[in-house]
Amino acid sequence: MAGSGNAHLREADDALLRVENLVVTYPTDAGVVHGVSDVSIDVRRGETLGLVGESGCGKSTLGRAMTMLREPTSGRVLFDGKDLTGLSREGLRRLRPRLQVIFQDPASSLNPRRTVRKIIAEGLEIWGRKPTPEVVDEMISAVGLDPAVVGERRPGQMSGGQCQRVAIARALMLKPDLILCDEPVSSLDVSIQAQILNLLERLRVDYGLTLIFIAHDLAVVKNISDRIAVMYLGKLCEVAPSGDLHRYPAHPYTRALIDAVPVADPEVEIVPMEIRGDLPSPINPPSGCRFRTRCPLATDLCAEREPEIREVRPGHYAACHYATTQPLPADAPTAEPVTV
C-alpha cells in the first residue's frame, strides 16, 4: 500500500469532521476496486480542506464517504464528535441539511423542470419549512444573480456558471455546517471560475462555512484552501498548509504535479517532469508504496514497505520513505532522517 498512518490528525476536539482509517471498495466484475484505502483526515470548523490528485485517485470517493453519501466499507466518520457510520437511515436523513454537496455538472444536478425559485426553496420544503419568497430572492441575490431576471427560469435557460450559483444557493438555504464541493468550477471558463471561487470564499466567511473542495487544478485548490491533501491511488501522499505545499513539496508525486502545471508566463522555463505513464490499476495496486511504479526515487524498500505518513516540517506531512523538504530556505526546519 502507500501512505497510511494518522500522524497528521489534529486534536479530535478541534475537528468538525474527522475520518479515521476510511476504506471504500467497489466490487466489480473485474475485481475489487480499491477506491480509498485507509485514509484519515480532519477538517476544522471554518476551514477549507482541498483534495487534489489525478483522475481516478479517489477524490470523489473520499469526499462522498466523508459526508456519508456513500457508506464506507470500514473506518469511522466523526461529525461534531459523533460517529456517523453507525447511524440509521433516518438519523442520517436528519443530519443531511448540515452536510451539503455541490457537484461539477450543475445543470444535471438541478431538476430541469423546476424554476430557479422552486429549486432553491425545495430543500427546505422537504423539511416542512416553506421559505418566504423574500428569503428565496435574498438567497438568489446572495449568490450574485438577479431574482427578477432568473427567478422564473429553468436550468436549461441558464449558463453553467449561473446553474452553479443556483446549486450553491440551494445548498445554503439549509444553513449547512459543511459543504462538499466536488469539482464545482472544473467545467467553467476562467472568468466564470474566478467569479465562483470569489463567491464561495465570500459565502464561507459570511455564513461561517466549512468546505471540502475537490479539484484537479492545483492552483485553484490552493486559492481556496487552508490545508491541502494530495491523493494518489486511494491514498494520501502529502498534507500541508495551502501556502506551504507548492513551495516545499515533500513527496515526489507532489513535486511532479507541481512541475507539470503549465504556468501562464512565457518567461518561465518548462522544467522536465520526472514521472511518466498513467495511474496503475486500482484493482491491483502496487505493493508497498503505491506510487513506486512511477516514482523517480523508488528503491526495493518502497516495494516492501508502505511508508507511514510523518511530519516533515511543522504542520506539513508526507508519506514517502524519502520525503524531503528540499529546496528549503536556510532558516527553515529540516526533515527527520529516514528511519527504517
Binding site: 456558471g161 466564470i192 492552483a219 481556496i224 487552508d226 507548492h246 504556468v263 512565457p266 518561465v268
Partner: protein
C-alpha cells in the same frame, strides 16, 4: 470580404509546396456564420492570421468565442447549418476556399490534420484502432502493411498509451475518455501533417499526461517542421507552448502577437481580465481573483461597437458607437483591437475617468477611486 471561388485544379495536393515563399497558413478576413433559430450567429467574424512553418500559434479565448469554428473552417468541415464562409484560407499559398469535398479530403492527413475537441467525433465507433490509425497511411505514406502497423504502435506509445500492441485490436468504447483523446492525437499525427490544428488536445487529461503530449507535439515540430494551431482555453499551456498567440472574443481576434509580448505588454482589457482571473500558485491562499463580470455574448446581429464593452472597465462613449479594429501597437509589438488599451495613456485616462464616475459608459459599476 471577397469571396474567391476559383476552383482550378492544381498539382497533387500532397506534393511539394505550391509556393515556398508563402506562409504555411494565411487566413484573410474569414467569416463563418451559422443559420440558427435565434438568428445568424457570427461565430467567426473577420479573422486574419498567418502561421509560418514549424511555428505554433495558440488560439485562446473563452467558451463560444469561435476557436473551434475557426479551426474547422480551415479544415473545411462545418456542417449543414453553416453559411458559405467568406474570405480566404491558404496553405502554402494555395487557396482552400471553394475546393470540393473530394479535393479537401486529399489534403487531410499529409497537409492538414485536426485533433478534435470531442474525441468521439473523430473516432469511428465500429472500427478497430489499427484500421483507424493505418487507413490514412495506406493512402499517403510509402509504407508496407507491417511498417504501417509498426508506426501505429509507435504513435500510440508516444502519446502515452500503455500496451499499444494489445490496444490496436480494441474499439474506441473499450478505452477511457483520456485514452480516446490520446488516440485521436495519434490518428491526427499518423500521416505527418505539415499543419496540425489541435483543438483542446489535452483538456480532458491530467496535467502529467498533458505534459507528455505537449512535449511530444513540440518534439514533432522540431523534427519535421510541423506548424501547429494550438486551440486552448488554458493560458498556461498557451504561454509555454506557442510562438504567437491570438486572443478571440465573440468571433474576432482582439489581440495577437508574439506570445512573450502579449503576456508582457498586455493591451486589451479582455486579455488583461483573463490573466487577472487566473488563480496562481505564487499567490497566497484566499487571494481575491480579478474576475470580469458577466459572460461572453453569443454574437447574433452584432451592433457597431466594441463587443467587450459591457464587461470592460475602460469603456467610454466611443466604444459604444464604433467598432475598434485590430491595429498594430508598436510600443507592445503586438496588434490590439481597443480604443483605450491597458498600459497606454489613453487607457489609463479612460480607467481613471470611469473610476471617478463609479461607472463605465456602458453602465458597469467600477470601484470608485479615492480622490
Amino acid at each position: 470580404m471577397s469571396l474567391p471561388t476559383k476552383t482550378k485544379t492544381q498539382s497533387p495536393p500532397a506534393g511539394p509546396a505550391a509556393d515556398s515563399d508563402a506562409p504555411l497558413l494565411a487566413i484573410e478576413d474569414l467569416r463563418t456564420w451559422f443559420d440558427t433559430p435565434q438568428g445568424i450567429v457570427h461565430a467567426v467574424d473577420g479573422v486574419d492570421l498567418t502561421l509560418e512553418r514549424g511555428k505554433t500559434l495558440a488560439l485562446v479565448g473563452e467558451s463560444g468565442s469561435g476557436k473551434s469554428v475557426l479551426g474547422r473552417s480551415v479544415m473545411g468541415i462545418l456542417g449543414s447549418h453553416a453559411l458559405t464562409p467568406t474570405g480566404s484560407v491558404r496553405i502554402d499559398g494555395r487557396e482552400l476556399r471553394g475546393k470540393s469535398r473530394k479535393e479537401l479530403r486529399g489534403l487531410w492527413g499529409p497537409v492538414v490534420s485536426m485533433v478534435f475537441q470531442d474525441p468521439l467525433t473523430s473516432l469511428n465507433p465500429v472500427r478497430r484502432l489499427d484500421v483507424q490509425l493505418t487507413e490514412g497511411m495506406a493512402v499517403h505514406l510509402p509504407l508496407s502493411k507491417a511498417d504501417r502497423l509498426a508506426r501505429a504502435v509507435d504513435l500510440l506509445r508516444r502519446v502515452g498509451i500503455p500496451e499499444p500492441e494489445r490496444r490496436l485490436r480494441m474499439y474506441p468504447h473499450e478505452l477511457s475518455g483520456g485514452m480516446r483523446q490520446r488516440v485521436g492525437i495519434a490518428i491526427a499525427l499518423a500521416c505527418k501533417p505539415r499543419l496540425l490544428i489541435a483543438d483542446e488536445p489535452t483538456t480532458a487529461l491530467d496535467v502529467t499526461i498533458q505534459r507528455q503530449i505537449l512535449d511530444l507535439l513540440a518534439e514533432l515540430q522540431d523534427l519535421g517542421g510541423m506548424g501547429m494551431i494550438l486551440i486552448t482555453h488554458n493560458l498556461g499551456v498557451a504561454a509555454g507552448r506557442s510562438d504567437d498567440i491570438a486572443v478571440m472574443y465573440a468571433g474576432q481576434i482582439i489581440e495577437k502577437g508574439p506570445t512573450k509580448n502579449v503576456f508582457k505588454h498586455t493591451r486589451h482589457p479582455y486579455t488583461s481580465a483573463l490573466l487577472g482571473s487566473l488563480p496562481r500558485l505564487e499567490d497566497p491562499p484566499h487571494s481575491t481573483l480579478a474576475a470580469p463580470p458577466g459572460r461572453p455574448p453569443v454574437v447574433v446581429d452584432p451592433p457597431r461597437r466594441c463587443r467587450f464593452a459591457e464587461r470592460c472597465s475602460h469603456a467610454q462613449a466611443r466604444c459604444l458607437s464604433e467598432a475598434p479594429t485590430l491595429d498594430q501597437d508598436t510600443s507592445a509589438g503586438t496588434s490590439v483591437a481597443c480604443f483605450f488599451p491597458v498600459g497606454t495613456g489613453r487607457g489609463t485616462d479612460a480607467l481613471k475617468r470611469n473610476q471617478e464616475a463609479g461607472r463605465t459608459a456602458a453602465g458597469l459599476a467600477v470601484e470608485r477611486s479615492v480622490a
